[in-house]
């Protein structure tokens, strides 16, 4: 009887409102979907539900206070936000950061990348229905949060860096804990791969879904794993090295098809590359101070600068203007990778099925706190 039933499904044009309260829009994203049966014929991505005015707030805080505001943008990767901001101000003020501080910063940033990717992997797999991967990934993320707690006392919003270096040196024995974590993490990655990489259903759900060509990806201004998934070589860590990345060896994984599966493989590979960087950082950790010579009152001379780093989600840039008189920025603007990647969502989901919409929200890895700021 159902032979007749299948084709008649696509008679109605239905407008449904996905979010802002929806279990898989990763916070408060809202998508107005126009459906033809199960197929999406148009989508309207609505953002702004978690706008807190971080940029405007920052223009009324002094330079050090802004660090803890940046924690609250990409709240699953606070350390990289801190890093980007501090480096921008250092660039503006031409402060030399001690080598040890740069090493520790790199290690922290890479740990943060693993934590962020763990969260992405868990929720992405959960969206596609593999609920066990979610808890496995969160189990490892928990260990990283413990490491951060050991280092700075906080588990989510670290406020872990200062302009000119770091507030604290690493505690005794911390490097061994990190090494032990790296070994553990390396043994856990095959566990994820076993559940997903060669799983027929996972392949069917991700391969050929949300394909975006390299040209289109560049045209849409994508960055980070979604851009590299389409085979475009762009990684701020390599192109414009910051912190201590120019001293380390690591590979930048590239995709070929630009589909969801490629983006998944790339992020899995980035786990391994991050572990490699962390190990190099710990092994080659130089002795010395962790704080550079910074004036007591931070007051950059008039000027403007843009500085970008590679956050787990892509190119995170800060554009800061100082008028040279006040102890707060004249203009503070963030280029959040999630926001730019979210641009790609509409072209990605049009033409796909409803079930793919959640896959595609997952694959571009957005954090709404960063999109809306």
């Amino acid at each position: 009887m159902a032979t007749e039933a299948s084709p008649i499904f696509d008679t109605d044009e239905l407008v449904i409102n996905m979010g802002p309260q929806h279990p898989s829009t990763h916070g408060v994203l809202r998508i107005v979907l126009k459906l033809d049966g199960e197929r999406v014929i148009d989508a309207d991505v609505v953002i702004g539900y978690i706008h807190r005015g971080i940029e405007k707030l920052s223009e009324n805080r002094d330079w050090t206070q802004i660090i803890l505001l940046t924690d609250r943008m990409d709240y699953v990767a606070a350390a990289t936000n801190n890093l980007g901001y501090c480096e921008t101000v250092e660039k503006l003020m031409e402060i030399e950061v001690p080598r040890r501080a740069r090493y520790i910063r790199t290690v922290l940033a890479e740990l943060q990348r693993i934590a962020s990717h763990c969260l992405w992997l868990g929720t992405h797999a959960m969206d596609i229905g593999a609920m066990t991967v979610f808890l496995y990934a969160f189990r490892e993320r928990e260990l990283i949060l413990d490491l951060f707690e050991d280092y700075c006392g906080a588990r989510l919003t670290y406020n872990s860096m200062r302009i000119g270096g770091l507030p604290l040196d690493i505690p005794t024995g911390w490097d061994n804990k990190v090494r032990a974590f790296c070994d553990l993490m390396e043994s856990k990655i095959p566990e994820y791969e076993e559940l997903l990489t060669n799983n027929r259903i996972w392949l069917e759900r991700t391969r050929g879904v949300g394909v975006i060509s390299g040209e289109d990806a560049v045209g849409l201004g994508l960055c980070g794993p979604p851009l590299r998934g389409s085979g475009v070589y762009r990684d701020v860590r390599k192109d414009e090295p910051y912190a201590a990345y120019d001293e380390f060896e690591f590979d930048v994984p590239l995709g070929t098809n630009g589909d969801t599966y490629d983006r998944y493989l790339i992020r899995l590979e980035e786990f391994k590359q991050s572990i490699r960087i962390i190990r190099q950082g710990l092994d080659g950790m130089p002795e010395g101070p962790v704080m550079g010579k910074v004036p007591r009152l931070i007051k950059p001379k008039a000027g403007e600068t843009y500085h970008a780093i590679e956050s787990p989600k892509g190119e995170l840039g800060y554009f800061i203007v100082s008028d040279g008189r006040a102890t707060n920025p004249y203009r503070f603007r963030v280029r959040p990778p999630s926001f730019c990647n979210l641009q790609g969502l509409r072209p990605l989901i049009v033409g796909h099925l409803v079930a793919d919409v959640v896959t595609l929200i997952g694959t571009i890895d957005v954090v709404l706190g960063e999109v809306d700021r």
Binding site: M1, T3, E4, A5, P7, I8, D12
Partner: protein, 171 residues
């Protein structure tokens, strides 16, 4: 006694549900009443020693055909009730009267036939090599009624193709 009780209960249910089907303004409710009606008819078949038909009634009618109706009712999402527009040439009362006449006529035929002497059954029970309702039915279907059976299957195939062609949208 028990049989009579069951028969009258079922009859009341079947007729009541049938009336509900054709009088309910909401089409979805109509469909649900239709399902219940078919289920009652299936129970009636069990009383008539036709277990296989009872099951088929539930499986094909209630579980298959009526689901299709429900689909169509849900897809044909009406902005206005079809009863709002009436063709002036339509004569509803005459329809009602005609139906009543048919009922009377049927009742008359039944009453008349029972005033006459009962004729003996046309055919005696056919000797069948197998026992049991399903087995005998299967035997009949695959021996005496093989060709009608095949024709029915072709009919279903044709209907399936036809339905796909009709319901499909030109793209």
């Amino acid at each position: 006694m028990a049989e009579a009780l069951a028969f009258y209960t079922l009859s009341v249910l079947i007729l009541g549900l049938a009336v509900a089907v054709i009088t309910t303004p909401n089409t979805v409710h109509s469909v649900v009443f239709l399902v219940l009606n078919f289920l009652c008819v299936a129970v009636l078949y069990v009383f008539l020693q036709a277990e296989f038909l009872a099951v088929i009634q539930v499986l094909v009618y209630a579980g298959g055909i009526v689901v299709l109706y429900l689909f169509v009712v849900m897809l044909v999402n009406l902005g206005r009730s079809p009863e709002e527009h009436q063709d002036p040439r339509r004569l509803g009362l005459i329809g009602l009267g005609l139906s009543g006449a048919v009922l009377l006529e049927l009742a008359g035929i039944i009453a008349y036939s029972y005033t006459r002497e009962q004729s003996p059954p046309v055919t005696a029970a056919q000797a069948s090599p197998v026992q049991g309702n399903i087995e005998e039915l299967g035997w009949l279907l695959y021996t005496d009624y093989l060709i009608p059976f095949e024709v029915a299957s072709v009919l279903l195939l044709v209907a399936m193709v036809g339905a796909i062609v009709l319901a499909r949208r030109e793209s």
